[in-house]
Symmetry: C3
């Protein structure tokens, strides 16, 4: 091309100076940009209690073993239930790096043994207590694997995923990494429109839900959870129509305090969005497109999110029920998507009814139908963000006050940014061929495949 032509070049549409995420704003959430592998030193859901059934004789091939292996924020973790209590240890033998959970072997109730060379570790302190075929080796007692605190509530097993050198005495209570509770916070977060939101920490709380692997980074998944501007995606969902709801085009922030950031010394760090209050206005018309919503008839709900990325949707999908979501980082491009509905069920009858409604209505219409659209949208962003382009070039708007506020508070209050996994699944992504775990066509994901010869 002639120089002249080159000189005449101009970009028709560049990145606008009017975007909401200007340079100053971006500089305030750099740590979040760096958290591709997630935040560490936080509580995450690991498995549902029913996924870790205790049985006698773990080494018996005929029984489902009470050992499961997962990976969170690049950390491989093995879970074992003993006498009802769940223990969590690093799922990587100190000897040759084998995942203990891949072929569970346990000789007693105090330990877990590597199925390859018999390295045996205490479940409580992780110490290498013996080696099956080398009981007098000098390595015994001088090394071990990291242990992780565990809490089990409402049928869910939570693990505190810590760095190897994070002091156990500094581990905060699980409640610090769970949504705001009610009625404790009724005064702080009044909500005239609906009843108290149950918590999985409440007496008689029952949690029903599911988890599956999402193929994209955990952050773009998380940001979708409390995103108020994507109602469009859900307009055709069955749950909307079976209830004859009429959704607005969207909802806009109208006051500066539409989002309340919580940064107390103790307790959860996060933010509450005052949705369906006077602080947000429903958008009922778009003249440019000739769109108009009449007879708005919606479900009034409210969303909040706390570190390390826990969504709470109050009063959804019905009164007295709350939906929790987690987007647990597995690697920098995969996450485990958790959807949990919680209700207080004091009686067996209540439990039955709730279970029935969950199985017949909510699982299919909400956790699948409705949230499948979200999962799809999250994965659709991955190409844009995977190489960093999205984090730099995205052009956000005023409704994106939610993700931007979240990014800033998460940057200030996370307890640590997970380092890229080392020596684990996802650390090396460039293979001559798919490895064993995908060679059979299965996608490697959250759970370790277990093998029995």
């Amino acid at each position: 091309m002639t120089e002249q032509v080159v000189r005449r070049r101009v970009v028709q549409h560049g990145i606008s100076d009017s975007r909401y995420n200007d340079a100053k704003s971006q500089s305030q959430y750099q740590p979040y940009k760096d958290a591709a592998w997630g935040f560490i030193n936080h509580w995450y859901p690991a498995v549902f209690s029913k996924e870790l059934v205790e049985v006698e004789g773990d080494s018996d091939e005929d029984l489902v073993p009470s050992v499961k292996g997962i990976q969170i924020a690049g950390v491989p973790i093995a879970l074992r239930r003993v006498n009802g209590k769940v223990f969590a240890v690093k799922d990587q033998c100190v000897h040759r790096g084998i995942r203990l959970s891949e072929k569970p072997m346990c000789f007693n109730k105090e330990t877990i043994t590597c199925w390859y060379h018999g390295f045996t570790f205490n479940l409580d302190d992780g110490k290498l207590s013996t080696i099956v075929a080398n009981p007098d080796d000098k390595l015994i007692g001088t090394t071990g694997i990291t242990t992780y605190p565990v809490e089990e509530v409402a049928g869910m097993v939570f693990v505190f995923v810590r760095e190897d050198d994070f002091p156990l005495e500094d581990v905060p209570p699980l409640s610090d990494d769970l949504p705001f509770r009610f009625p404790e916070n009724n005064e702080r977060f009044p909500h005239p429109l609906w009843p108290d939101t149950p918590s999985i920490l409440d007496k008689d709380a029952v949690a029903h839900g599911m988890h599956r692997t999402g193929f994209g980074n955990w952050r773009i998944a998380c940001e979708n959870g409390f995103d108020n501007a994507h109602i469009l995606v859900h307009k055709d969902n069955s749950i909307v129509h079976v209830n004859d709801w009429v959704l607005p085009l969207g909802i806009l922030p109208v006051t500066d305090d539409c989002i309340q950031v919580v940064e107390d010394e103790t307790g959860p760090k996060g933010m509450m969005q005052w949705l369906f209050t006077e602080k947000w206005a429903p958008v009922l018309e778009n003249k440019e497109l000739g769109l108009k919503i009449d007879n708005l008839k919606g479900r009034f709900y409210r969303t909040s999110v706390v570190l390390p990325g826990v969504l709470m949707v109050e009063n959804w999908p019905e009164e007295h029920v709350v939906q929790y979501e987690w987007y647990v980082p597995i690697t920098d491009d995969t996450h485990e998507y958790w959807e949990v509905l919680v209700k207080i069920c004091p009686t067996e009858e209540d439990r039955k009814k709730y279970k029935y409604r969950f199985d017949r209505v909510y699982k299919e219409l909400c956790l699948h139908g409705f949230n499948d659209c979200d999962l799809y949208a999250r994965e659709a962003m991955q190409h844009f963000y995977a190489d960093g382009t999205g984090w730099d070039n995205e052009q956000l708007v005023s409704t994106d006050i939610s993700p931007v506020t979240w990014r800033k508070l998460a940057s200030r209050h996370n307890r640590g940014i997970a380092k890229p996994g080392k020596g684990v699944y996802g650390a090396v992504k460039t293979h001559s061929t798919r490895f064993k775990d995908t060679a059979d066509g299965k996608r490697p994901a959250y759970f370790v495949d277990q093998v029995w010869f």
Copy 2:
């Protein structure tokens, strides 16, 4: 090994000084070596007209939408047909990078809307005209997506794939990126042996063909198209034998002007090979191997290639028919292979006959049977060229005057070298797992998979 042994080391067969592509020659096509992602600011075929059927109510799931997404030279492009006219815009929302075409949403005939947050863009100038749920945001009107000129001829939709800052007023006519036309060029390229070659730009031109994704770089695919030395690959093809053709072992250049380079100020830039003239001699014998061809009986054709990589095979597979081929870059290791046969059909009767012959004979025996061998050979070169080894170590011979001439002229006259894709499919090739677009076992390729919930 002892030093002595090391000292005695000698390479039995190295890279020969006699190779046709010596250092000086290579230095003349460095830009071509750099064009792994293709040439940009050129016209490429996007879809066949029949692949972009217009229907009313694009947002109606029950109808096939007239929106399709493709990727060319690392640029994601969304096509929409409105009132018969095709518009092309960058298929990447300025907001969060979603591909608009993935779940087509159009509220009127002037725009295309992102299905995730309702960002709405004008089809004609790409400007962000509104946001469904945020009609007054200040970003509106200040940004947008790049638009791409479109031409539709003979049942094919062509798009001018430009850099964001390439001025629309500098866009050349489609004919500049199409093969040489006849009879305009009869004097320049006389061909006593056969009739004028039709052009897709001719009145009553009918184009039948197919396109599919080839797994290799576009350049090694393109070079195979006009390669005169691989007749061997085709010796067993049915099309040869049903016609009782007797092919030579190969054809050799015998004069310096066997290839004519065209570098006019305007019009296509490319080269014409005077095949089946006295400037090329058929090879009928190889004494070393005891091979001898008797009663040569071939199809007389001639090939030429023009930027950005368009092959024309005149008089093939029969008189009055011409085969065009494009090797449209998708990423640096995938390309869309286009095979199109053009014939002039003034009457409905002619159209019917030609369609019949295409469906019953040419599609299977030529575009598949014959060209499948080419596609296979192209993919077979990928490992050698993928890491640069091939471009440096290949040892070319005199018959390779064709690719070498092409590489040099392409280096001089391309309108731009495409930069590696950013934030698009193929930008990141290292995944913890196959993404959504391959997780179901389908290979990601040219078209965007569309989803309907």
Copy 3:
């Protein structure tokens, strides 16, 4: 987090100073750490003789051609059998890098021809002898492809995989890269407990076995072969129980000379483990775990390993039989796993009996059942070692004297460290999509897929 907290951080379990592979030890096997792509200038098994059947008319699609392509240590190799003799040449055309074996073409018994452009190479010296369609090109005779010495014994074809500049006159005899032989070494390696171990080099030696691709690095596969500490993995194998064997928990070295390193000027370089002699003691009890073995009843065997990584298990799985294993590097993360059982069968009757026992018992219970557990364990280590983490962080113990001794001797005596493959399968592992060779769901591996149009 407050600075104070940070200050208090301590790792509960780090890498122990008591590990067997201390810094000094590691420094002595750095070359081994660098040999991810294998050792070169060594003899490796390529195919079983029966996999390279000679037929007339290689270019006839109806016949299985006597050409096969494989890749060893990043070197693509084509094998052809002519008049019973096997020739091996580099399987990469000097012209455009095509693998000759992908679509075998041979015009006579002295050459192999590239199916794409007809480049023809002598089988004996690799010289470019002619080009089908360009018999007078000046490149002819000035270049060629590397040739590889071949030995065929006991139904196995061995190839000496050399660097292009490794002098043919320096190629050692095959026996230098095979296990120690008996009775030659009876005095050096007395073994009162069992009869002489047969060698594939012996008269009337019959080798039965199999090979398959393992998805992991060849070194972690090889080290498993002679690892004395993983008996645990095999405790449930059928071969153990059908024989009513009672295995010890493990076996421990009790004297400094429990492993004998062999570094003779000529002959194989390797090590012999005096298993089931007084130099190793069976572990019958682990008090910590309350494990006790009564009435030990085992199969007495002995293992040794020689460069480039050949295992010999004497007297296994029965007397008069020996198991050989190779872990042939293909790329840095794939290897071909060879399992071969050798027995001397002087008579046809012996051959029949042995074949019957192999097919009915050993193939399923040993090469699969028993060794499948090994293959699984080897692949299970890949994530830990793939990014280097394992090589640095593994914590070895006294029983690991075997791999450590092997690593050191291999570092001293290998004939060359293979460079990462260039322009071959596995050189580029980052694809926009799976290439042709995996696109159909098949995993690319050892053999080249052959195609016939």
